[in-house]
């Protein structure tokens, strides 16, 4: 029994890693090899695909654009959600429960529903093809999520902590910035992670609201064929690079996430 107990997890991990390996494998092959033969590792090993991505602005600007609007969106969503979540967790006001539910309903429609109105609206006010446009569009989905996550964490902090701080002489902002925010740091980490993930992965709105200047990498990547025909190796290299930021973020927030699962409402 003991001798075979490693088989199941190993099998599981192999299956799990197979698509990623295949992507990595393809990214070091030439397009001819990918289309021509079934090979488990690159026969004709090449860095050419990566070199193209890092030297061609139409490729690398995709990453820059994506990272720009994703960061802006994450910061904006959490910054707006913090006071909102505080209000929901600490005060009772008329319609608070309805408002909280209404916020969440924003996530219940697919992004495609909003593609047309956003496109029209942003074109009209001159925001089309800007990073701000995509960042703002994504807040529609991310603010409710961040409010929901943060409210859970904040409600886990006793109201008496606020009162103790006031009794000690702290002003509201002194308490909020120096005591309260560090207290729910794990929750902020979790909220930022989910905002990042949504914005990084979302394709439809990002593609609809941009043309050239703010075109995200996911839009560039879905361009399967170019004037030079199929460029599968190039796409595989782009895909590999796209995994990296997500992996980085997960690595840094992994402890917070674990804490978040235990404490909050994720």
């Amino acid at each position: 029994m003991k001798r075979v107990s490693w088989i199941v997890p190993t099998l599981y991990i192999i299956l799990l890693m197979l698509p990623i390996y295949w992507l990595l494998n393809m990214s070091f092959k030439t397009t001819n090899e990918i289309l021509g033969a079934f090979t488990l590792w690159p026969r004709d090993f090449t860095f050419e695909n990566y070199v193209t991505i890092f030297t061609d602005p139409t490729w690398y600007m995709g990453y820059v654009n994506s990272l720009l609007y994703v960061s802006f969106n994450t910061v904006l969503s959490v910054a707006v959600a913090l006071p909102a979540a505080y209000a929901f967790s600490r005060y009772r006001f008329i319609g608070d429960k309805h408002l909280f539910f209404w916020l969440l309903t924003n996530r219940m429609a697919p992004p495609a529903v909003f593609a047309l109105p956003f496109f029209q609206l942003y074109s009209a006010v001159g925001l089309f093809d800007t990073h701000i446009a995509v960042a703002l569009a994504h807040t529609l989905f991310n603010i409710p999520l961040a409010v929901w996550i943060l409210e859970g964490f904040m409600s886990g902090v006793p109201k008496e902590l606020d009162e103790t701080a006031y009794v000690d002489g702290h002003s509201f902002w002194g308490f909020f910035l120096k005591i309260f925010i560090p207290t729910i740091a794990a929750g902020i980490g979790v909220a930022m992670f989910f905002c990042f993930m949504f914005s990084w992965v979302e394709l439809l709105l990002a593609k609809t609201l941009t043309a050239v200047d703010a075109k995200p990498i996911s839009a560039t990547m879905t361009r399967t064929a170019s004037t030079s025909g199929y460029e599968l190796g190039l796409l595989a290299a782009a895909g590999t690079l796209t995994i990296i930021p997500g992996a980085f973020v997960i690595y840094f927030v992994r402890n917070y996430i674990a804490k978040g699962f235990a404490l909050g409402r994720v």
Binding site: L161, Y166, D168, G169
Partner: protein
């Protein structure tokens, strides 16, 4: 400095949390708010501190109306039942927090925090985070923070309730010592009558948002104004039963009767309520004046050196608390003795009848 509550009340919507209350607390006094959970102890404290605004009435402090003054501007401190500390600060910074806000020089902060930590046995853990401390140490940290700034008003909201038995007794012994050389007003909320008696000072009994009586703790225990105060200040609960006075006798349940005695001789004939604390109902006859009653035993709780017997007479539940082990079979009939010299009589509205000078407890 004197804290005066002038008919302050607090309602949220249609719900009354605190009925208009008048209370005057003198500087250097130890005051206990005694009441069950939801009696309004915490709300009353929040009104005193200024965390909550009263919906009616005024709060005066040291001869000044402070009703509208923000809690930050008043010199108060508060300790809660939950161990409330700033989780991201070290113990040192937790204690120093009120002094930092007051912008005291660093050297003085260091000295005062050091002294306070010494007093509360926290010197060895000043660098740790509150989460790395035991419950008792966490509450000591909260206490140290409340005491370090020399507030005029210190509010302690059931500070010992979440501690285990040993720590509670230890800290309870320390508390009066911590306040002995201070001239602040201490307000201590508790649900336990025993705790109030141990601390002494003044006690205010609270029931459903109403202060039913306020005065020196011993007096309040011995001479409750009414049935409500007497009930709040009795654990296990006071035994209350209807009695009738006819001529020179008090009659209970038809066949139990005893002489009204000199004190209640002059009382008009009629229906009254009779109240006696559980430890004046005993399985052993203590004096000739004790009146035997027959009851059916419901439960017997034996705890080391003490017996608590729950029984019923004519469907009215009674409790007896006595020293020694007195085991009764459940459902058995038992004879217990009421020490009627220690009994209270209340009129139809629950006011205690005082026809003569009250005797000892």
């Amino acid at each position: 400095m004197t804290l005066e509550l002038k008919s302050i009340g607090k309602s949220v919507g249609a719900e009354v949390h605190i009925h208009p209350t008048d209370l005057t607390l003198e500087a250097g006094s130890f005051n206990i708010l005694l009441g069950t959970t939801l009696a309004g102890k915490t709300t009353l404290m929040q009104l005193m501190a200024g965390i909550e605004r009263p919906t009616s009435g005024e709060v005066w402090f040291g001869g000044q109306n402070v009703t509208g003054v923000a809690v930050q501007k008043r010199n108060v401190s508060m300790v809660y039942q939950q161990f409330i500390n700033y989780p991201n600060y070290s113990v040192f910074e937790n204690i120093a927090s009120p002094l930092r806000v007051a912008r005291l020089p660093a050297a003085e902060i260091k000295k005062r925090v050091g002294d306070m930590a010494e007093l509360l046995k926290l010197s060895a853990m000043l660098d740790r985070r509150p989460s790395e401390l035991s419950g008792g140490q966490q509450q000591r940290t909260a206490l140290a923070r409340a005491l370090v700034k020399d507030s005029d008003l210190v509010l302690l909201d059931e500070p010992l309730a979440n501690l285990d038995f040993k720590l509670r007794e230890e800290l309870r012994d320390e508390l009066p010592r911590l306040f002995s050389d201070r001239n602040c007003i201490v307000v201590y909320a508790t649900t336990e009558p025993t705790e109030a008696l141990l601390f002494g000072g003044n006690t205010a009994t609270l029931m459903e948002g109403r202060v039913t009586q306020f005065g020196p703790t011993g007096d309040l225990y011995r001479q409750p104004n009414d049935l409500v105060s007497a009930r709040v200040f009795s654990d296990p609960p006071m035994n209350v039963a209807p009695v009738r006075k006819t001529g020179s006798e008090i009659v209970f349940g038809g066949d139990v009767r005893w002489p009204a005695g000199e004190r209640f001789q002059s009382l008009a004939d009629g229906e009254y309520l009779f109240g006696v604390r559980p430890h004046h109902v005993t399985p052993m006859r203590k004096s000739d004046a004790a009146v035997p009653v027959e009851g059916r035993v419901l439960v017997t709780e034996l705890s080391g050196s003490e017996s608590v017997v729950h029984f019923e007479i004519n469907d009215i539940p009674w409790v007896s608390q006595s020293h020694g082990i007195h085991a009764f079979d459940v459902g058995a009939s038992a004879t217990l003795y009421l020490d009627i010299t220690e009994a209270f009589y209340f009129d139809g509205e629950g006011r205690r009848i005082t026809t003569a000078a009250p005797q000892g407890h």
